[in-house]
Symmetry: C2
Subunit: 340 residues, 2 copies
């Protein structure tokens, strides 16, 4: 008999297939997320900066070893960058022209691509921690800049890895979208966590953190973060990375925790890569969008490996079927953490 | 500038890419939903009935031309069936054993496969209308039987077409799942439509129907049904089939409307097949689960072609990006209806 589990906060049910569960080897993809086809014309590789719009942000290594923040101007493209962030040429959201508003059904906002490294294949699973720190600092910069726009209500920072997870280019990159309304999923999480906070006077996520830290779903922890497979994981090998210190957004995160985040991301994504032959995945940061949410919301990162297909049942009911119990997922990933 | 649209009922936003929209030819899959690999060992083909559990339901053609309803007994497997319905060997939900309950986190319920035809390739897009009528009558039977169980709260009837849409076997088949709780998506639809009914005294879907019938999103209509691309379509070429007469469930549908449903399903799915080279898709019936919902809920069928990928943004925010405006989808499908 399979198990039925409900999400910590959402009215979202998952059937956990304890009955006919799958082992990691059943889910290993034949092909790694990206085939080794490196295009000479990759628009994100050094030398091809002119193939993208001017960067809204570049980090440059200065001669004295410090990092300098700058941007491209229209004619100029910076060379020798560590990361660069450009407008997405296929933007879902665009800045408002005069008089355009969300209320009129316009998709106003921003849509940017954050190129994570000059090295085509420097994905987080294999990145130098120092490079991943720059990527996270880039996320923080874009989150700060975009969330300060008067027409922006929510900023989503996310990453698609592998063709099957929707990454059309294989050069290591993330994306940032600033939307003019509070989207459905954060809205539901915010409502549920506010309700719990009003009832118990405590942050729901701080309680989840305490519980999961002692559970068989814990993958690893360091000074600032824990990584665990959530109780009602929707995806096989799904895991969340959550800061131990309560904070609704990562805008104000300090250098120490940034480094700890880089290390736990690299370890967990590295574990996923070696366990399942570099599978496609998506990740997304969940954040509280404004100061009003600071007491009851708790930011975190959710990572969804793409190993199975959502079909007619999932799409028409919103119930998910997960063929790998999160306890098994965590134990398998944990073993790899130890050997790294 | 792209458009931002909200679902009729749900707080679900879709970016409609009017700005960089795609034509049908951009989305045609290279491979049809199923390659022409017909296994000699297909467990759903006639002669292989022993490869499945005994049928809970078979329709047999009797000598006088009538249809006889029966079931297999353990030793016997009926031959010469028109449709048969068996327990899914990889059940997500199972009937309760003594003392097992949903409250204890058991996935109690039912999970069945409805084999739609003895002919391996008789998918709805190409089925004889008479055969599709048997399939719909099979759905009605299973809905009636399963929703009468005391531990069942919701019955989902759905179909996965093509490997990429989650169909692991290519023989024409649908599935039926009976769940012990009201799932998330129907729960949200029910709440929203009940609220509207309380405010306006009218069924929200009857109003949608009136509006869409006169809109550029109409695909076709017959005496009992309309087919249209919904205002905030999540998927490119998504369409809904909705009965003109108000009813919360199709349990009590009469033979005339059953025939009209068979014809409109065949026409629309046939149009989708010829427009996009037999693309993978999922469909699911949305129904009111009990008599209490009869005034304000309105059953319908939602069809989701699988032509694009949900990535990190969709999965972490619940905002969708649709690269084909529903007006364009409807016009393209409509043209094919006329030529059929």
């Amino acid at each position: 008999m399979n198990e039925l589990r409900k999400d910590y906060l959402l009215s979202r049910w998952v059937v956990i297939a304890t009955h006919r569960k799958r082992r990691p080897t059943d889910l290993v993809k034949k092909n790694a997320a990206f085939q080794a086809t490196k295009l000479s014309s990759c628009p994100f590789c050094p030398g091809n900066e002119h193939m993208t719009p001017p960067a809204q942000l570049v980090f440059l290594a200065s001669d004295d070893g410090n990092i300098v923040k700058d941007k491209d101007t229209d004619g100029l493209r910076h060379k020798n960058w560590l990361i660069r962030c450009v407008r997405n040429l296929y933007s879902a959201f665009s800045p408002p022209r005069k008089g355009e508003s969300f209320e009129e059904g316009k998709a106003i906002g921003h849509h940017e691509v954050l190129i994570e490294s000059p090295n085509h294949d420097e994905h987080p699973a294999v990145a130098k921690p120092q490079q991943l720190i720059q990527v996270i600092n880039g996320y923080i910069d874009r989150l700060k800049v975009l969330s300060s726009k008067p027409y922006v209500r929510y900023v989503s920072v996310f990453r698609n890895h592998g063709l099957e997870a929707g990454a059309s280019l294989s050069h290591a990159h993330s994306q940032v979208i600033a939307a003019p309304m509070l989207p459905r999923i954060p809205a539901e999480e915010l409502k549920a966590s506010r309700d719990i906070h009003e009832r118990n006077g405590r942050c729901a996520f701080c309680e989840i953190l305490e519980r999961e830290r002692k559970s068989p779903r814990l993958i690893m922890e360091n000074q600032s973060f824990i990584a665990f497979a959530p109780w009602a994981s929707v995806h096989p090998f799904e895991f969340w990375i959550m800061p131990k210190a309560h904070a609704s957004t990562f805008k104000d995160i300090k250098p120490g925790p940034v480094k700890d985040l880089a290390i736990i991301m690299k370890n967990c994504l590295g574990g996923l890569k070696s366990l399942l032959n570099d599978p496609p995945y998506n990740y997304g940061f969940h954040i509280g969008p404004n100061a009003k949410t600071s007491e009851f919301y708790h930011w975190h990162l959710e990572v969804y490996p793409k190993l199975t297909i959502w079909a007619g049942f999932e799409k028409s009911t919103g119930i998910y079927i997960n063929v790998v119990p999160p306890e098994d997922a965590a134990q398998n990933l944990k073993k790899l953490m130890k050997s790294q």
